[in-house]
Subunit: 145 residues, 2 copies
């Protein structure tokens, strides 16, 4: 949980605006999208200047997969979703970020991908806190971190 690797890292302003921080994992900052349409997490490696997965060295690529799996398990167990969508696109925001989205067959975009489909819905404060707490418990993170 050290932030040492991220000394020169700064989160892209668009990601900062659209998300809240859940945790610092070994490689990535874990974010939750403020869009309540879908439980929607993002992993952002704290390496400056990285756009593609293949811009990471192989150790960091392996760690990214480890964190994708950890976060996917936590999101699936927390939401009991029908499907996970995992994607690194970056056409709009170049800083490497991996979306991990819990999809339901009843959600606003199903079966389409989520991007650009439904207007953003805000979370209620309690709803947001409850979801973040549940995710942090599933991830085994100290509530006081």
């Amino acid at each position: 949980m050290s932030a040492a690797a991220g000394t020169a890292f700064a989160l892209h302003p668009q990601l900062a605006q659209d998300t809240v921080v859940i945790a610092e994992l070994k490689l990535c900052r874990l974010l939750l999208s403020k869009d309540a349409n879908y439980p929607w997490l993002l992993l952002v490696p704290r390496h400056p200047g990285v756009t593609e997965i293949i811009d990471l060295d192989t150790d960091a690529q392996a760690q990214l997969m480890t964190e994708i799996a950890e976060v996917s398990h936590a999101l699936k167990e927390t939401t009991r979703c029908d499907k996970l969508n995992v994607a690194a696109l970056g056409n709009m925001v170049p800083q490497l970020h991996v979306h991990i989205i819990a999809r339901r067959k009843s959600d606003a975009a199903w079966p389409r991908p989520v991007w650009g489909v439904a207007p953003t819905i805000a979370y209620g404060d309690n709803e947001l806190t409850t979801l973040i707490d549940a995710l942090r418990r599933k991830l085994g993170l100290d509530q006081k971190q």
Copy 2:
């Protein structure tokens, strides 16, 4: 390049219809989408019954990342694309498949994701063969495989 791990594996009919086979990698069958709008590859782990990345064991997850990186490098070097899009969605076709798509700022969907945007365009025979041969060379695969 052994097919032993895939004895009980059968490619989903929709993927079989929409793609051509480029190669068998250690974990995955590597496919090329027949849609000439975008140079578009797919990696399908030859494990039956797998829907999510987290349905794979951790060794297979690590190998999937290795193959995503190998194929991403080959696709980027072959196409000189502006951006790679890497995604495991599976809302329509449940069999786990990872899209690796070469995006250009001039393509039919930019900057949106590609799914459901532009009508499929067929490759010319020579165009398809040239692309496949170039990708196979970049991947270090025997042309006669």
